[in-house]
């Protein structure tokens, strides 16, 4: 009896180890395809329902903080109005200069809307699967954004009807970024937890908390000017020529179920 029990334990463990080994030497992406095809209808429905429920809960939480937030927003609105007036002047000036030099209008993205089928179920790795694939023109390396030009991630695998996206919060996703003031540049990577880390910032570069961090466009994946987050804390070390900063991500309140793939862009 004891021997039979032991067999029931040992065989599945051995099979799992074999699977791990076999996956290193053979291409098992067809399994991903089958599982996604079977589970996607259920997960997509569950995700949309969760997204709706989360929005309703968010409304209740927002109601609680409404009066304080309202005062803050009024103040910010005043400031933005004056910024807007200045910006309009600059825009006109810029337009006139562009016409003189003969340079094209500002950047343009060609976007393809997609729905998230499911997120990576493991906390350690940050991926999502979306319902658009190679037959929709999606290719590996294409950047994916959320509403408001917020970076979501990049396509790492494009199958026929779906694609796997490596989220910006994944530690393997290296993004070239800068502060909006253009004073500091660096390389961004995700970490476990809701934090992004901006690395390789020159030691004497000026960077302060609450500064907006955007993409530089130098990594060849993400176009220039996409929103990444805000500086949370600057970590300066005594040694070396670089410093780091932790970044409060723009997706802080979570990712959404609707995203946009940038299939092409002009800068």
């Amino acid at each position: 009896m004891q021997r039979k029990k032991r067999t029931w334990i040992i065989i599945p463990v051995a099979m799992a180890l074999l699977l791990l080994f076999f996956a290193r030497i053979a291409d098992l992406s067809f399994v991903d395809g089958i599982v996604t095809k079977v589970t996607a209808p259920f997960t997509a429905t569950a995700l949309k329902t969760s997204d709706g429920a989360a929005s309703v809960f968010q409304i209740f939480f927002d109601l609680k903080n409404m009066s304080g937030e309202n005062a803050m927003l009024r103040e910010e609105n005043q400031r933005l109005l004056s910024d807007y007036a200045q910006r309009m002047d600059l825009e006109k000036e810029n337009e006139a200069l562009r016409r003189q030099v003969g340079v094209e209008q500002k950047r343009q993205y060609i976007l393809l809307g997609a729905n998230v089928a499911y997120f990576d179920p493991l906390s350690f790795s940050h991926f999502a699967v979306i319902d658009k694939g190679s037959r929709d023109g999606v290719k590996e390396g294409m950047p994916v954004i959320m509403a408001g030009d917020v970076v979501f991630g990049k396509v790492v695998e494009a199958y026929e009807g779906f694609s796997r996206v490596m989220l910006i919060s994944n530690s393997g996703n290296r993004v070239s970024v800068k502060t909006a003031s253009e004073q500091a540049t660096g390389v961004l990577a995700g970490m476990t937890g809701n934090t992004l880390r901006m690395d390789l910032i020159e030691k004497n570069a000026e960077i302060a908390p609450d500064e907006l961090v955007v993409t530089t466009g130098l990594d060849g994946v993400y176009p220039r000017g996409l929103v990444v987050g805000w500086v949370k804390e600057v970590i300066a070390s005594q040694e070396g020529i670089f410093k780091q900063a932790s970044i409060r991500p723009a997706f802080e309140k979570g990712f959404t179920a609707t995203v946009f793939i940038i299939t092409d862009y002009l800068q």
Binding site: P12, V13, R24, T36, S123, T192
Partner: protein, 160 residues
């Protein structure tokens, strides 16, 4: 069959609804929790090995982690709990807490080890791993208490 259906429900919840309940970027591993609770309440972890194996494969194909990581971690955690159940046979909350912590630690440690070994870009601070273990253990204990409460209420209603 019941275990497999519960695992499928947990997989869908883990990849969708629980993503909205993330704290510090950590989502609850509901499949692991269901496996620990079900095995403890039935007093038999061996019977769960096959459905958990297939649940692990589904999770692996849904995850971007190296294929086989979750299946291996799940199998190893259940095997250890099966051995442990010979020592802690009684159904008691404290015993269960030990099971929840051991299961979560083993699962997370194996996932962490395999990911660090096979993924050159992986960066996981120890504090993050500890948070995952704490979150999973606490959630698993809550599910167990909830399940016990349901069973006790059912028994009370039926007069047993």
């Amino acid at each position: 069959m019941t275990a497999f259906v519960l695992f499928l429900g947990a997989i869908v919840a883990q990849a969708t609804a629980f993503q909205y309940l993330k704290e510090y970027g950590i989502a609850f591993d509901s499949v692991l929790a269901i496996a620990i609770v079900l095995g403890f309440m039935r007093g038999n972890y061996q019977q769960l090995m096959i459905p958990a194996f297939f649940a692990g494969i589904i999770l692996d194909s849904m995850s971007g982690a190296p294929f086989g990581t979750i299946t291996t971690a799940l199998m190893a955690a259940l095997a250890a709990l099966s051995v442990l159940s010979t020592t802690f046979a009684r159904e008691h909350v404290i015993h269960f807490a030990v099971f929840a912590v051991v299961g979560s630690v083993l699962f997370s440690a194996i996932v962490f080890f395999i990911t660090m070994l096979l993924d050159p870009y992986a960066r996981m601070p120890i504090i993050g791993v500890l948070s995952i273990i704490g979150y999973n253990s606490a959630g698993t204990i809550l599910i167990y208490l909830f399940s016990r409460w349901i069973i006790l209420s059912k028994n009370r209603i039926s007069g047993r």
